[in-house]
Structure formats: C-alpha cells, structure tokens
C-alpha cells in the first residue's frame, strides 16, 4: 500500500530514539530512497492519468483543479482517473510528511547531542550521520556559539555560556575523581592540571560540568 514504507521509517526512528537517548541511530539510506522512489512512481502515474484527463481541463496544477475535474467531467472513466490522481496525491503528501518527520527527528537529536556531548562528537555518532547532517551539526555549533557570545553584549557583558551551570549549585567547590586518562585541562584561573585516572582534584563545580557529561570525571562530595 502507498505510504507504508515511509510510515515504517517514522516508527523506526521513534523506536530508535526511545531505545537510545544519547546517540544518533544509523541513517536509513535505503528506506529514504525507497520512499523517494515510490514518490517518483506515484508522480509519474499521476502525470500519465492527468494528461489523459488533461485534454478536457487545461490546467497545470494537479491538486488545485481536481475538484473541478471531478465535478465537471461527464465520462465515468475520467472521473475514475481523477479519483486515482487524488488518492495518489494524498499518498505523495503523506510520504513527504513522513520523510520530513524522519529527518527532523534526527536533526533534533543531533542538536541535542551538542548539549550532551559537547562540540566534538564521538566517532560512533559521526559514523551514523550523513554528510549533510555532519555539516548541519558544525553550523549549529557555530550559530549556538555566536548566540552565547551575543548574550548581554549591549549591556557591556561578554556572553554567557549556557552549557555551564546545568544544575543549581549546592557548594562552590567539589572534589571529583578522574575516571579515565584525559590529559591537560585548563580551569578558569589558568593553572593547567593534568587529569590522570583515579586522581582526585578540587575545582569549582560549574567548571567540571562538561567533564562530567563526557564521563571523564565523577563527583565525590558536594
């Protein structure tokens, strides 16, 4: 039936998104292509039928004039064709909707990843994304960075990092344990510290948030 494949895509993406909250699922290139093929097929068929009725009604746009066609055509054959065109057009619209839903759900998740994992995505996620999605991610990154730099510029304030201060602070400084080798980290005061596995450090909470999200460190005390 028309639109079945595209509905599959939508159901898939929903399942994948609830199954994995912090990554992008693989892009279903095959699925998308099949839907686009089906759309082309529907469209070609419509063109054919339309040309057949077309001799009676000289219009270009299929959809807008269908009602006219349905009412004005006297022969039952033409009426049947018009109904077919109408049905196929609805299927086309539905396929378009489903594809857009599929792609924009992925896009939403890709934007979320900027907030979960920071501006550089792990390879696992990158491999699941298309070329254009990667490009979108990079651009989103820039747009977001520009925005955060813009906050309060009029009031002589130079930007606000919205990815910091994710949680209400309970204490200013926290002790944290390093979970994996990370290397050098530069806190705001400029004194570089080296994060080695199992080391314990003491830093202001808000400066640790990115590291926590990346799974590099773990808070010991509040």
């Amino acid at each position: 039936m028309f639109g079945e494949r595209s509905f599959e895509l939508v159901k898939d993406v929903e399942r994948q998104m609830t199954g994995c909250v912090t990554g992008v699922p693989t892009y279903d290139e095959n699925g998308v292509r099949q839907v686009l093929d089906e759309m082309q097929l529907l469209f070609d068929q419509n063109q054919k039928d339309y040309n057949r009725i077309g001799q009676k009604v000289n219009q270009n746009d299929v959809t807008e004039n269908l009602d006219v066609t349905m009412n004005s055509s006297t022969s039952t054959g033409a009426q049947g064709e018009a109904a077919g065109v109408y049905l196929r057009h609805t299927a086309l619209e539905r396929n378009k909707d489903c594809l857009l839903a599929y792609m924009s759900t992925r896009l939403e998740r890709i934007r979320d990843l900027r907030w979960i994992k920071g501006s550089v995505l792990p390879e696992a996620d990158q491999n699941n994304m298309t070329e254009q999605e990667l490009q979108y991610f990079t651009d989103y990154n820039k747009i977001l960075a520009n925005y955060m730099r813009d906050i309060g510029v009029d009031g002589d304030f130079d930007g606000l990092d919205l990815t910091e201060h994710m949680e209400p602070p309970k204490s200013h400084m926290v002790y944290f344990k390093v979970l994996k080798e990370y290397g050098e980290f530069e806190p705001e005061d400029g004194k570089i510290i080296v994060l080695r596995k199992n080391c314990v450090h003491h830093l202001p909470k808000y400066q640790c948030e990115t590291l926590i999200r990346q799974g590099v460190i773990e808070i010991l005390t509040e």
Binding site: D156, Y206, I219
Partner: protein, 289 residues
C-alpha cells in the same frame, strides 16, 4: 540566609532601571529587587508552556551586577570562610540567569518556525517576544534548518512537492498543559470543564493547579505567578519596606532562596538521566520525542 554579595551594603547599590511607568520616570531599584524580579520571571518561564515576554532590563542589569560581583570576589581574602560563601552565592545568581536564558533558548529552538513566522508578521508597534540576540539566533537557525531540508529532501521530490512549507514545521505551545500558580491579587477565572463553564474564585495567596490557557492572561497581567508545588507561600520580605505600587507588590512575594528559587522545579540529576527528566512543557534541556 541573605548574603550581601559585595561584603558590604554599599556595593549592592542601586541599579538604574529605566522602566516605563505611568509617570515616565526611571525607577531606581536595588539589585536585590532586580534579582527577585528575575527569579519570578525565571519561574514563570520555566513553568509556562509558551514563551513569555523577555525581561530585558532585569537581565541586563543582573548581568552587569554579576560582572561587578565577579570583580569584587577576586579581591577577597582566600582564607576567609566568607569568601567561599560569597562565591557560592554568586554561583547561585549566575545559575538563575543562565537557567532563565537556557529555558528560553530551548523554547525558541523547539518552536523556531512558529516564532519566526510570528516575528515576521509582527507590526512595528508590537513588542517583540524575543531578546535581540535570541532573534538573531532564531533567524540563523531557521535559515539553516530550512536549507538543510531543501538540500537533502525537498529538492529530491517530484516537482509538485518541491515547496518548503513552513506550516509543516509548526510547533505550538501546549496551552492545555497544567500549571501550578500562586495568586497575587484576588481574581475570578472562568474555566470550561466538560462543556460546563465554572467560575473559580482565586484568592490572594492561594496555590492552584489548572490548565494554562484560561489563566494565561492573568500571568501576563501580573495577577499570578507560576510556581512549583514546593515553593513556599508568599511572605512579606524585609529588603524594601517601602513597597508601594503594584510592581513592588510582586516583588514583595519572595520565594525563599534557600529552597524555592534555587532548586530548579525539575531536579536535574547526572548524565544521562537528566535528559529524560526534563522532558515536558517547561523543560530546560534538549527535547526528546
């Protein structure tokens, strides 16, 4: 625990807040008052399903204040116990501002096309619902996203369907969402329940739980403010005994900083669960399906 941030009374000095009042004179308010307005605005923003008018002056004033405080805090003696407390307080204030901006950010992002459409249709004498920088962001995001869809999908479709229809990207606020709110001025409100119209008396100080739509205009008029179930009942607070006009009355209702205002309505826990918890209308995080 009211800590004056700059260590003395003088640095919390008055901030000029040019607000168009009836008498057209700038009102001078203290930074504590500004913070309080921002806190209320922040709670409202967090709990309401739609984007609320921006608190332009409050935000700018508070950012300026943060800058001053950040400077002051570096001059304090590091061995002094109070230094850490000052820093923590500064962190809390920053959290409120950042969280306010972030809450708005995610609403703007989620409803980007809807807001962009509205912004394009807005007449010149209508106030924008966005901060200036938010609008720039919105414009960039909408353009980039539309380009993405055109390049990846729409151009590959049959000719009749090669239109970018903004209506397919419309996301409307959930006006049906239920919210908690505290009544600041006596009101009556008409609510439709099962095809019946009920008139409900709202008395000052009451806490109610209701659909957002019928009370949205009260929020805009400042007769109520949205809250969490936990937020403490209003109490007159001590910073400014000269509370006279209606604006001050709003300020006079203080959510105690220790619990109410600074613990966010939806508690965030560590990655990755915090993502899931923050779904919903007022959520302040990436929105999941």
């Amino acid at each position: 625990m009211d800590i004056s941030l700059n260590g003395g009374d003088d640095q919390g000095g008055p901030v000029d807040n040019e607000e168009d009042d009836d008498d057209d004179e700038p009102i001078v308010v203290t930074s504590a008052e500004v913070l309080q307005r921002l806190e209320h605005g922040w709670m409202n923003e967090k709990m309401s399903p739609e984007l609320l008018p921006p608190l332009e002056q409050e935000k700018d004033a508070m950012l300026g204040q943060i800058k001053v405080m950040e400077r002051n805090v570096t001059t304090l003696d590091k061995r002094d116990v109070r230094t850490d407390i000052h820093k923590l307080e500064l962190e809390r204030i920053k959290f409120v501002v950042v969280s306010y901006m972030r809450t708005r950010f995610f609403k703007v992002q989620r409803m980007s096309f809807t807001l962009y459409e509205a912004e394009m249709k807005r007449s010149r004498n209508q106030e924008s619902i966005l901060f200036k920088e938010e609008f720039t962001f919105l414009k960039n995001l909408v353009t980039r996203t539309a380009d993405y869809f055109k390049a990846t999908l729409i151009s590959k479709m049959p000719p009749v369907l090669q239109k970018f229809e903004i209506k397919k990207f419309r996301v409307l606020p959930q006006f049906d969402a239920f919210v908690f709110f505290r009544v600041l001025q006596n009101q009556t409100v008409q609510v439709e329940v099962n095809d019946e119209i009920l008139t409900i008396e709202l008395e000052e100080g009451d806490l109610h739980f209701m659909r957002y739509e019928p009370i949205a205009h009260l929020l805009a008029g400042g007769a109520i403010h949205l809250s969490t179930l936990k937020a403490n009942p209003p109490s007159r607070h001590h910073h400014h005994p000269h509370a006279a006009n209606d604006d001050d009355k709003v300020n006079a209702l203080k959510i105690r900083e220790e619990q109410g205002a600074l613990s966010s309505p939806q508690k965030i826990s560590h990655h990755p669960q915090w993502l899931r918890k923050l779904e919903g209308t007022g959520g302040e995080c990436p929105h999941l399906i």
